[in-house]
Point group: C2
Chain length 317, copies 2
């Protein structure tokens, strides 16, 4: 796919992943509504396969490969949710998945990827090493590289979460997502622009990793340099495919502090009784910090995932 | 109500609480199914109002009071989920709630009950002190005492969880609940006996608080003496209203160890991405310990609640 996804592409992605992905619920919580002074609808991608929205994009991409491409497998570099998502999607299609992962990755993440039958190639924990090793793997295997976000097939897949949310909850005035590389945000923004153009798309980002916010202000992609945040899904820079979509369709990116992220995360666990990862809590943290006027509004929030080490929680134990 | 709830009573309870209680989802999890070798359906009462099934019984009782009774308010002794449930039900009906609570109760529990507008009377942390103070409160106010479980209106209310589960999930071969005082278990057993008599009702109990298991074996109510378990919702003894129902309609009560309870709790958090309290994990712990042959069976499990101190989790932090 060599153009930003059209509505038909996002609908096709939804059809393609339907047999494999969960149609996740949109939950509400009276206590959080009272705190926010708004009506909040949480799209629970923490309940998605592999515990994150990433399965949508990975699955759409794997399922759209031609038989010839598929037979050679897929490859990516990631130690996070995208690695697991691609490994599972490949397993479902019955094709090889090659994951390049830093040696320093936590054992639990290695085990999860191996559990889906993927082949791991370890690399030094630098961007350069990662890209070099990946290039070698792709050359040796002929596998298709599936980027975690800077790929129109991935973007179309991520856009299916908003598609489901808009179908389940009418008349949303605002939809919020976190932003890292921009796959979820750009997919969401496209879906909303096609189906509910009056709905405002607003992203939230940790102040300690605010490259997307600054990129939008400067009008060019600024790299994410030494990001520092607990929201470890949001460390990456925007890509040349996600950025223009975000420029065109996203109203604003607000930044939030670490304390607000942790407070919002804990609030969701305590009040909604669901497990979300720090990255998921970033949009709610923006409401917590009163970065937006949502008084009386209907706000959709995409909770991006729920993969968190229960032995290392960010509050006193 | 002076007789064990009939099907009509449970259906009436369901109608009565419908405007106020959540119809909670029945969630499934492929990973847990694989581990158990069965098809598991989790009725998520951790998503219920106040975070526990207790709201069903308390709400049914409060909403069935005559206007004269209601005007005098309701009272109970509890520091747990029942106290919050009764306080919220009373707040909804706009009547007073008097809660007798040990001085030693955690501040967070006091705050929760006060947050619903209830009046707290503190007592020494003994059964005798609790009952004496409660009697005084009832005498002074004319409030209706609502027992946490040994009350047919409460039992009818708790039975509505199984009613919803049977409506949502056909052909369950087994339904499991934890057992403390037996309110949830007896209500579940009655509902199942009326609507799906071929479904086996099996309860699970911590080995460190196994009075219900021993009571069923001996044919009489044995008190819960010095119970010791992390499942702090299951410390109480059966009552003379819950016990005969359990004797008649429950096939078996299995006991489980503390390690299995903690492992099952963590498994649900990690795999299902939902927050449950230790008491909720007890039935799954029974499967974990292979106390039951569920191979290939369709098993409903009622997750009783999700109120847990996130700062004190039962695994290394």
């Amino acid at each position: 796919m060599n153009h930003p996804p059209l509505l038909a592409d996002i609908r096709a992605a939804a059809e393609r992943i339907r047999p494999y992905a969960h149609r996740t619920p949109a939950l509400t919580c009276a206590a959080l509504d009272r705190l926010a002074g708004a009506r909040l609808f949480f799209k629970c991608e923490n309940f998605q396969k592999v515990g994150a929205f990433k399965f949508r994009g990975a699955c759409n991409t794997v399922m759209s490969l031609s038989p010839e491409e598929a037979a050679r497998g897929v490859a990516t570099h990631s130690s996070g949710n995208h690695a697991q998502a691609l490994a599972l999607a490949a397993k479902i299609r019955g094709i090889p998945a090659h994951i390049v992962m830093p040696r320093t990755s936590p054992a639990v993440k290695k085990a999860a990827v191996e559990g889906y039958g993927a082949t791991i190639t370890f690399c030094e924990p630098t961007l350069q090493a990662r890209e070099e090793i990946l290039a070698k793997v792709v050359e040796a295997t002929g596998a298709t590289f599936v980027h975690p976000y800077n790929d129109y097939r991935v973007i179309a897949g991520q856009g299916t979460a908003a598609l489901e949310l808009l179908e389940a909850v009418p008349e949303l005035e605002i939809i919020m997502t976190p932003v890292g590389g921009g796959g979820l945000l750009s997919g969401t923004a496209l879906t909303v622009s096609y189906l509910s153009p009056q709905t405002r798309v607003i992203a939230a980002e940790p102040a300690g990793a605010d490259d997307a916010c600054r990129s939008l202000q400067e009008g060019r992609i600024l790299p994410s340099v030494n990001p520092k945040t607990i929201a470890d899904g949001l460390l990456t820079s925007l890509g040349d495919k996600t950025f223009p979509i975000i420029q065109q369709h996203v109203e604003r990116i607000v930044t939030v502090g670490e304390e607000a992220i942790i407070a919002a995360m804990r609030l969701v666990w305590e009040r909604m009784k669901i497990v979300i990862e720090p990255s998921s809590a970033v949009p709610l943290a923006a409401l917590w910090e009163k970065k937006l006027d949502v008084e009386g509004k209907r706000v959709g929030i995409i909770l991006s995932g729920g993969n968190v080490d229960l032995g290392k929680l960010p509050w006193p134990g």
